[in-house]
Amino acid sequence: MSAVLSPEADEAPGPSPVELRSVAAGRLALLGGAIAGQKISVNIDDVDRPFSDGETVFLPAAFDDASQLLALVAQASLVAAGSLEPRVAVRLIGRASPARRYVSLELARALADPTIPIPNRHRAALRIWDGSPSSSVAESLDMALNAVGIPEAPAALGTIRPRKVMAGSGGSGLLSSMAKKPSDGRQKEMPVDELDDDEDSEESKILKLFSSPFQFENPLFKLMRNQLGMKRRPKPDGDDGGAELPVAGASAVTHVGKDAQLMAAPDDLDLNVIDHEAGDFHYPEWNGHKGTYREDWCAVGEFMPAEGEPDGEFHPVTDFTLRRRLASLGLAYERHRHQADGDGIDVHALVEFAVSKAMGETPDDHVYQTRLKTGHDLGVVVLLDASGSTAHRTNGAPIWNQHRQLAANLIGALEQVGDRVAAYGFNSRGRHHVRFLMIKDFEHRFDASAVRRLATLEPSGFTRIGAAVRHATHIAAEQSGTANRLVVVVSDGFAYDDGYHGRYAERDTRRALDEAVESGVGCMCVSIASDTRAEALERLWGSVSHVRLGEADELSRHVVPMFQSALNAAGSGTRDIRDRGPLAAAR
């Protein structure tokens, strides 16, 4: 039995070091997640010391297995104990020794918490501080800063990297507090070693603050950007800058001529309009504040993006696991005639049997018919969020790349198992400019030109999810021709557009999802390594299946329950899909 589970059972000969790292990381991620009590990714990399940003634990590749394990347990325990609190991190900036004392204290606090399942064998190694554990993060911080004979945690257990913590998803509100006092003396006193410690990080937010030409812009903007999760890397060429800043924040919406801004936004795609003869599609939007629909509020246009060469980072691959799992979904019964056994008599076959017997031949005794679930009866619209926020980078690569990869895997697998699939990118620049960028429609194959269109899509603009879901629902309902219909949104799950944010956006999105489900179109959302907070995702997508993956190839693990629950929610009340759809008519 243990052989079945043995990790070395079928190891390929001589995997590359990178592959080995990723295998080891995958193995450790589950343990880390169990201790932390939340999803943890592990990244084994050329870092000099273990640290975590609250979602990913970074481990030095130079460590041996046992040290990596111990460091993982330590960092996951810190996550579980809530030690990676941005408010604390900000006070540890540039203070290496207090940071290490803080680690000692927080580990002691984690060890004392019976709900954190730290393996017994590692407990001794994590117990650096023997005194009575502190009762809260704040107390630990206090003790660490005032240093009353508290031992520093050894480097092998890792450190707190304040800026990583602040850049992680827990960073809400942090940047704003710094923006308010950019000349705070403490930040100027950063010791050099701390800067070195962080040199592999993306550009420091603090340094950016000093160098930014917008240094004196309204701190509220930064607060907004940060709280809304729209943390982005400044582009070197900066030509997209206008489009990437919030066109209209909460404070600006009433004052700024929003249309002027939107018209000025650069059209960075070479678009061939395919649907403008038919005009835009108009959809209402739900005004949650008043509890009414705004009729004809949003205009959605379909565009055909230009084809280009796939860049080096994008290779559509066949995900065999995904394909196998998808093959079992959205099936319909089909009648099979001429069977050797079955639950009914095939009258035609029986007549042939009688005839050939009467003629003295050897009759074919396959005279039964049976009904088997073999017919594919599933239409899926894959909706890929092509808004600027997906260009945000986590672990180096923009999540857009991973989203695109995931969409390609999904589209390819669905097409190969015989389901009908259409795919669109979407973004928006205000309610009059919601754009659907066609990758493939239901009638065309996912061929080379579709791949090229997908490859050249550039994320830009914003995300008006409600209108996008409504249009995708319309496409699924009108064009799929199947009884089971799904809309799969691949997105960071974050709704933001001009005059479309916060509670308003959440309510409209939820409304659009409910409308879709009520009209018999199942919905689900998949995101990868998104830094949208879990509660925000839950508020937006809580009524339908949604999952946040670490990597594109994790999709296969979640696809069956997600698709099933989405299909079931859409088809509830009808237990048997025989009663619907074209296959019913074909019977």
Partner: protein, 268 residues
């Protein structure tokens, strides 16, 4: 369909109450109300019913429901016996006649028409209508009790219980017992060494904390007992944890590796 009728034996099946479930069950049963047990796989729903049936000294008929269960499977049907037809009671009818507890395990798996057939039994009427027998109405004998179980995991989105069914039930929510109680349960059931059981409990607690991991289920009390039994029968704790706890949870290679790492860290 499997039905089992257990007669009253001498030793009560072991059940360690976690909260007030025994009192609620007792009050509902004595008040002739139907009971819905909610809880994840392997948390002890079936054992609880067995224990309660023994406590009241009545027979227990268990039906493990699946999607091909029809109303006739529960109520009864005519069978051909030697050229003549003969009526054979189903487990539900038998319980109604004899005054036993009928336990419909995983009821959401059954077809809607068979679930609806329990409605008149589950409310104040307490009568069973046998349409196949010309609409014969049977009044439930004293001691009859209807218990259904229902696992509100993500299955519930696929197949949910109708509101009209739910309303007829008294709900008892069971979960995995807290670590100390689970420890005594596994000790009692398996006789494995205390420390080994402690390790298993820690491992299970850790697995239950995983979020969005791709595991469909987590390690249940049942799997803990199974692991303990394996240890009592000569396997090492690690072998037992791999075989009984990690192995059944997933076939996914990466997840298996992750679980193995967890086993290695929690089980000595």
């Amino acid at each position: 369909m499997t039905t089992t009728g257990s007669s009253v034996s001498t030793a009560a099946p072991y059940y360690l109450p976690v909260r007030d479930e025994v009192e609620v069950f007792e009050a509902a049963y004595r008040g002739r109300l139907s009971i819905m047990l909610k809880g994840p796989t392997g948390c002890g729903k079936t054992r609880f019913v067995e224990h309660m049936a023994h406590r009241f000294g009545v027979d227990l008929h268990t039906v493990s429901c699946h999607e091909d269960i029809t109303a006739a499977d529960l109520l009864g049907r005519y069978l051909l016996v030697g050229g003549e037809t003969q009526w054979v009671d189903g487990p539900l009818t038998r319980s109604v006649r004899k005054g036993a507890i009928c336990y419909l395990d995983e009821i959401v798996e059954a077809r809607q028409d068979s679930i609806v057939s329990i409605h008149p039994l589950a409310d104040h009427r307490r009568e069973l209508s046998l349409e196949r027998q010309g609409g014969t109405k049977l009044n439930a004998a004293d001691g009859f009790g209807l218990v259904i179980s229902y696992n509100p995991g993500y299955q519930s989105i696929l197949k949910d219980l109708k509101i009209s069914t739910r309303q007829r039930m008294v709900a008892i929510e069971l979960g995995y017992p807290p670590p100390e109680l689970e420890h005594s349960i596994v000790l009692h059931e398996t006789g494995a060494h205390e420390d080994v059981v402690g390790d298993f409990i820690n491992l299970a607690q850790a697995i239950r904390r995983l979020e969005d991991s791709g595991l469909k289920e987590v390690a249940s009390t049942r799997t803990l007992v199974a692991a303990g039994v394996l240890v009592a029968n000569g396997l090492t704790p690690r072998q037992a944890a791999v075989a009984a706890m990690a192995g059944p949870l997933t076939d996914d290679r990466v997840l298996q590796d992750g679980l193995l790492t967890m086993v290695d860290n929690y089980v000595s």
